[in-house]
Symmetry: C2
Subunit: 197 residues, 2 copies
DNA sequence: TTGACAAAGCTAACATGGTTAGTTTATAGT
DNA sequence: ACTATAAACTAACCATGTTAGCTTTGTCAA
């Protein structure tokens, strides 16, 4: 009757990802995953460490995927061009995988080596793309926080339906990026003179 | 044994607010509220329309409160000064009432007149504070979306623990505001000179 | 080929949370 | 003092998550 459904942790994860992206991360249930896989709920525990474990797996996948796509967007570009492309990739990922994106936001427990490593990769891409601006010490941190705030804020307000008016959202995003980059450059003119390549 | 606990919808709301702010909006449960009030769970249904109703009440309170504090911060100020003060009030509110702030983000159903009105008040304050910039048509919408993204993005990343490094967060926020405002002003120099159409 | 073992599925049982129905009781107004 | 209403209660049900323990299946070695 149950001819060994041939599951593994990865197939469970992929199914959970689909559900989380489709119905929202908060509405992800083990019951839903089990139903989608055609097995009973407790059988999931053979592959996944309960709901917290599944959520962690989604977070890890999402964070790695985000880092990957940001890196891909940045490669071969520099300066504001790189930042704009990274920001677009960030937004695209958040739209294509709202569930995984939401999962990736929960800050990892300090013991979770893999998840912290993945988060570090995202961090590194953003840091790398801001490097040409020659920001010193805390200024780099401020700039990274600012850029992440801009990207995350826009994307989540979009996702939550916070932008009611029927005005082109791409245009709003591009405008916001332009404004942030312009402000970043002029706030930094002194350092900017000492440029590199 | 149960000498009529003297409850009403407002006292239930206040208790729920405390719990949501203390333990997070997602962890708010009717069971927790009932326990805090010293009554049994089903008795709550005399005051509140289930968990969805309670959440809506929190959202309404939060949105009204936010509108109120933003208005208070803006009064008597103009230009970038007003914007900075509104942004600080936004951040302060989100910190003091993380639960209510989270609740206020869910976009109201179209039939909910009160909640839509409150959301409109927030909208109006942000619009008012950007008025001196003489933004035409869609440009005002773009600017409002940008400002809300900046404020919301920073505040939620803070709340989720997204800013790991031990660098002063106030400073990061002020820096971000300055950058955004600088970019906004210079992106708009043309219009700024030609004051009215 | 077969038999033992581990893994993967299952059922059963329990906890917590939300919800509804129906009952009792406190209190306010007549 | 009496009654009507509103506020509390108990009981019951459903969904989800979790654990324990049983059964089946697939594989690998004797």
């Amino acid at each position: 009757m149950s001819p060994r459904a041939n599951l593994n942790r990865e197939r469970v994860l992929l199914t959970a990802l689909e559900l989380a992206d489709a119905h929202g991360y908060d509405h992800l249930t083990l019951a839903g995953v089990a139903a989608a896989l055609g097995i009973r709920l407790p059988s999931l525990y053979n592959h996944v460490d309960g709901l917290p474990g599944l959520r962690r797996d989604i977070a890890l996948w999402g964070t790695r995927q985000l880092a990957d796509e940001l890196r891909r967007a940045a490669v071969g570009r520099a300066g504001s061009d790189a930042i704009v492309h990274v920001a677009r990739a960030y937004r695209t990922f958040a739209h294509q995988h709202p569930g995984a994106y939401t999962a990736s936001l929960q800050h990892p427990s300090p013991e979770d080596v893999q998840l912290n490593a993945a988060a570090g990769e995202v961090f590194d891409v953003v840091a790398a793309v801001l490097r040409p601006y020659n920001l010193q010490g805390d200024d780099l941190i401020h700039a990274m926080r600012g850029l992440r705030s801009v990207m995350h804020g826009f994307v989540t307000l979009e996702h939550v339906g916070g932008f009611g008016m029927s005005v082109d959202r791409e245009a709003s995003f591009e405008r916001l990026l332009a404004i942030y980059l312009h402000g970043l450059e002029s706030s930094n003119t002194g350092n900017h003179l000492a440029k590199l390549p």
